[in-house]
Amino acid sequence: MISASEKSLMKGADIVVDSLVREGTEIIFGYPGGASMEIHQAITRVEEKGARLRLVLVRHEQGGGFAAQGYARATGKPGVVLTTSGPGATNLVTPVADAMMDSVPIICITGQVPTAMIGRDAFQETDVTGVTRPITKHAFLVKSLDDLPVVIHDAFKLAVSGRPGPVVVDIPKDVQQSVDAPPGEITRSLFRKSLSPPDPPEEALKKVAEAIAAAHKPVLYVGGGAVASGAAEEIRALVEKCRIPVAQTLLGLGVVPGSHPLFYGMLGMHGSVASNYAVHHADLLLAFGVRFDDRVTGKLDEFCKHGTIVHIDIDASELNKNKRADIGIVADLKESLKRLLPMLQEKNHDRWIEELDGVRRDKPFHIPDMGEKITPQAVLSLLNQRLTSETIVTTGVGQHQMFAAQFLTFEEPRRWLTSGGLGTMGFGLPAAMGAQLARPEATVINIDGDGSFQMNIQELATCYSDRIPVKSLILNNQHLGMVAQWEDRFYGANRAHTYIGDPEADGPYPDFVAIAQGYRIPGRRVTKLEEVADALDEMLAAKTAFVLDVITPYQEHVLPMIPSGKTFRDLIYR
């Protein structure tokens, strides 16, 4: 017999799901196990009640973490992933570290062994909050059901506030199984710290306006923070009003449209000559939502040596971390620019722009001619003609990623999703799934390498089972191309475990088309340049997921290149 009062009680697992739905969760990427199955059971109960909540069963927890990231990167809303304790949770470590580096809001719900067994080396027990503490904004261990709704509410607020990032919520099984009254409105928080960013100080903004008015060679250095802040509109307005040339980081691509005449390309190690030239010669660098990463700056002392540096970022610890700012502002970028714009007079920098146009004309990204062989640059140029402003592109990590950053143009932010800071191979396919589910109408293309693709290839099963029509374009050179490139440049071309083809036979290995077919996904392999356009059209026309295996020569190097720790003067163009 169930008494009336017991009837109105809720299980912890149901409170978890109820809280997620309240926070606006539509999709959870998950993989069940002993310590999380209560929550999976609870999800089926809300599905029965017709809630708009979908559990996408991934095939590896790392895939789940990156799918949550893809969702978050495409929308700005937190992505949610659910795993069990121990190995389920440790498999999330890489996507969590990746989300921390690139400031991506994800919520990781992990099951934990019952509280009474914590610390006794129980089956599938790992100290998950301990493991993830240095790579999260915060990691919660929920020891009492009382705190559960508050923790989940705090987790969502934390993930998106200030500089976004990952939050882990570790929930022991007994907390999931115990019962309590349904939570009411959440009015408390576990933290007293204010999560709203400080206002940009008026005085500092005035100084920025004066610096812009005085500059002859200003450059905008725009990064992922501009995407997170939603500041594209204001940055574009600034570019138009003051005619300031723009260099964007790997994570900033799309803030200023790729086709804009004042956009000179990505900057940094594999950036355009024009953008790196611009920063090197600038007398004013407007560093907006960036962190002076070593892949951008090379040798720090030489980076923008002669320019005044204005740094605006929401994270105080980024200011003066790598490079001292002459004018530093800790505030939301969008808010800062909204206040800055009216302080500015219209301006032009014709001579500076002419100078940069000249560099761009003389030293563009180069497409080599290799006869009927397919170079990565050629495929990507053909693909670029087929992108719309809505197309979303994800990548793995390596040469293909850098080529894609060079040769594809993005007209809007959140169309180019790539693992920048951590540089995680295997990011592309699961991230594409998350983006596709967030934007069902968009075409989503994962541009991958043969190495990266094999790091989360199992997610093809998720694409098939959940009908997620992402396209994978593999630039297949049978090598770990970026490492091989460094071997060529700095290690006398000695191959040290960078060949991943068949050691016995020639011919591409593995057979990605056959693997795709094994997952009931169509595919095609192309080896000649003349086939590429048709193959791209076939891939883009497919209503399902599709794997296009493009065989490319491994000898291609990503250029230009500023070797690690060097300066613009050391740039290798050809």
Binding site: T129, G130, R133, P134, K137, H138, A139, L141, K143, L158, L190, F191, R192, K193, S194, D315, A316, S317, L319, N320, K321
Partner: protein, 166 residues
Amino acid sequence: MVRRHTISVLVENQHGVLARIAGLFAARGFNIDSLTVGRTKDDTLSRMTIVVLADDETLEQIVKQLDRLVTTVRVEDYVGQDIVERELILLKVQPEPEKRNEVFQIVEIFRGKVVDLNPRNLVIEITGSEGKLAAIIEALKPYNVQELARSGKIAMARGKTLRDPL
């Protein structure tokens, strides 16, 4: 220039908060000279007093990184401020029997206390600033110091209040 700085951090008294701060110092390669932690008058808040060895740039990063944690309520770097700072030490010494009186005199000069006395040795308690403690340790060296335990420094600004900003 690398100097010794005292930082006071008010933190939420929650699971893992000490680990988070200790981990932050380890992960970013900051040097901790001493760290003390204890509850404040508000049970939900703890105060950590951290003494670090750092140049100005590193100190700026330490303060900002500490402040970045959600569990941090307030960080105060006491550089250039008028503060009261104290550390407590316990010293176990075993002087020659005929030199015990000399030890008592030194303890009195430094306003310490002998808190244990037995036929074999004695335990001395003394509080004070870094300089004073260094001086007594030096003064007691000839008397066969067997053990030394330090509490780590705690500090408070004179006059103004370090508290919850809300």
